[in-house]
């Protein structure tokens, strides 16, 4: 049993648009995967289903063997406490300091103030922002803001870390830094799934790449050898 399993998952929206078609994929504990594809391919929908922000129309999503579509609403909160999520629009609270933003998930869990301080600082130092803990997000650069978002996602030490276009607003150098952060968390044993349309960037990384096109998987391959030239065949699948 893999940690995350998609079994013939389809998602059709009320307007009839089919954002995901018959997706089957498995993710091992501690693996790192990039989800790529054109805009509108279904990457965000994929992650939303996994976060239980929406439910699949057909098929099953199993996490630790449990069908997440059947988690009762009252337990969804506990499910989400065990996931970390990062978004392009980082969703930081503007009227709270960096520290408070990162502390939020820990307060939700009800950790003691002393432990919150330790954990928040550990997460902030992990993303290189320890010196900025007292600032408000608006005084940070876009790249720094994104890293605060990442710190918030990992502060609870989730087993699974999901990111949707985390480098969307960033220049190539900053984007690389961010991706390397995810790589680090993967090295610590966290399962990481990053959705990104920045193919150039992700193909330089050592990770599995799943490409979606119009809601279907058109490519799913694992790159383990660093720097290896990628097989190019699937690039022509694009419509």
């Amino acid at each position: 049993m893999s940690q995350i399993e998609f079994h013939q998952v389809s998602k059709r929206f009320e307007n009839g648009h089919e954002a995901l078609r018959d997706i089957t994929a498995a993710f091992e504990e501690g693996s790192m995967t990039f989800l790529t594809g054109h805009s509108g391919a279904g990457k965000s929908t994929f992650l939303k289903l996994l976060l239980c922000l929406d439910r699949p129309t057909r098929g099953q999503i199993l996490v630790n063997g449990v069908n997440v579509a059947q988690i009762p609403p009252v337990r969804l909160a506990y499910y989400r406490q065990n996931l970390g999520a990062v978004f392009q629009d980082h969703h930081l609270l503007t009227h709270r300091t960096v520290f408070e933003n990162v502390a939020l998930p820990l307060r939700v869990v009800g950790l003691k103030e002393k432990d919150i301080g330790k954990r928040v600082r550990a997460a902030l130092s992990r993303v290189g922002l320890l010196s900025k803990e007292g600032l408000f997000p608006r005084y940070l650069s876009t790249g720094e803001q994104q890293r605060v978002g990442i710190a918030r996602a990992v502060v609870t030490r989730p087993k699974i870390l999901l990111a949707d276009e985390p480098t969307g607003n960033l220049d190539p150098a900053l984007s690389r830094d961010i991706m390397q952060l995810f790589e680090q968390f993967h090295q610590f044993g966290t399962t990481v799934i990053v959705a990104s349309h920045d193919r150039e960037l992700i193909e330089t990384m050592d990770a599995r790449i799943i490409e979606l096109s119009h809601g279907a998987v058109v490519r799913d391959e694992t790159e383990y050898a660093s720097g290896e030239v990628l097989s190019d065949e699937s690039h022509h699948v694009e419509v």
Binding site: K48, L51, L53, V63, N64, G65, V66, I71, P73, V74, R75, A77, Y78, Y79, R80, Q81, N82, L83, A85, F87, H91, L93, L104, P105, R107, V108, V109, G110, L111, K112, E113, D115, R152, T156, R157
Partner: protein, 325 residues
């Protein structure tokens, strides 16, 4: 690996165990929410005061009517000009029969006292109106009946009066029983009207108070929507997300109770002099009943409950299916 997760054995059955930090964590969360609520409210003092005032007025009116009703009730009890009944005897009624009726009335627990007026006394009284005495002299017999007037004891009411009247009406020698109940009846009716009016106003203004808090809580929710989405995303339970707004509701409701108490004491100050005059003519020991700690307690409790109701209403409308992204 993390504290926030349950034991391994639990994990196999329940992959996402409820947080086990338990009561202490819950307490910390309440404390945090209370602190934040206070901060949020004080940052919007103008709005908060306005809500307090509105809720306060909504509570003060029915509560004031309630006090009025309680005091009217007390007034009829303490009233010196107590109601009573007059029994008029037949002209040929025998002395023992009359004696019997008078004794019956005297012996009743709800009767304060009985005054007997014989035929002769009645005549003497009548003749003191000089102009009429001549007319009476034309008559052979004394046409005035003997009568007895019974005054009710404190604490007895209309029902007692009616019972006494029924009791003596059929007694031998009694010609007529006249019950003097109009004043008492009127006050009782007024009290009843006020009590119903109070219930009506209480309902209407209660709904008003709920809507006022619901609206302001809703505004508070709108102002924090972004934060609520993030909270939900990082795994806050619906309860946690709702909690600050329930605190708002309680806060607005209690504040409304406070304002209502102040409004009522203010009104009492204003009406004190005329009220003393009014009540003082019927009772010596004027003291406004009902405005005591338990009344205030109930006022605050009702305020708090209405506030929470309003908050729940707003939370259900706005947070019921909050879209995270």
């Amino acid at each position: 690996m993390s504290k926030s997760r349950g034991s391994k054995s639990k994990l196999s059955r329940d992959p996402w165990p409820r947080n086990r930090s338990g009561l202490a964590a819950g307490g910390r969360d309440h404390l945090r929410v209370a602190r934040e609520t206070l901060h949020f409210v004080s940052a919007r003092m103008g709005t908060s005061l306005l809500v307090w005032l509105l809720v306060g007025i909504a509570l003060a009116l029915p509560a004031g009517l309630f006090l009025l009703q309680v005091n009217l009730g007390a007034m009829t009890d303490a009233w010196d000009g107590r109601p009573g009944l007059s029994v008029y005897f037949q002209l040929d009624a025998s002395d023992p029969a009359i004696q019997e009726v008078v004794e019956t009335l005297r012996g009743d627990a709800s009767v304060h006292g009985v005054t007997f007026i014989s035929q002769a006394q009645a005549l003497a009284e009548f003749q003191s109106y000089a102009s009429l005495s001549d007319a009476l002299e034309l008559l052979d017999e004394n046409p005035l009946p003997a009568s007895a007037r019974a005054v009710l004891a404190g604490g007895s009411g209309l029902a007692d009066l009616q019972r006494l009247a029924d009791m003596v009406t059929s007694a031998p020698g009694v010609a007529e029983v006249s019950v003097e109940k109009t004043w008492l009846e009127r006050v009782t009716e007024i009290t009843r009207v006020i009590s119903r009016l109070g219930i009506m106003l209480g309902l209407l203004f209660g709904i008003g108070a709920v809507l006022v808090t619901a609206t302001s809580v809703r505004l508070a929710i709108e102002a924090r929507l972004e934060e609520l989405r993030v909270l939900k995303l990082v795994g806050a339970t619906d309860g946690q997300i709702r909690r600050p707004f329930l605190y708002f509701g309680v806060f607005y409701g209690l504040g409304g109770g406070l304002v209502a108490a102040m409004l009522i004491s203010l009104s009492l100050l204003v009406v004190e002099t005329p009220l003393t005059n009014l009540l003082g003519s019927y009772s010596q020991n004027l003291e406004l009943a009902g405005f005591d700690p338990s009344f205030l307690g109930v006022l605050f409790a009702i305020g708090g409950v209405l506030g929470v109701l309003g908050a729940l209403l707003a939370a259900r409308a706005r947070l019921g299916n909050l879209e995270i992204l």
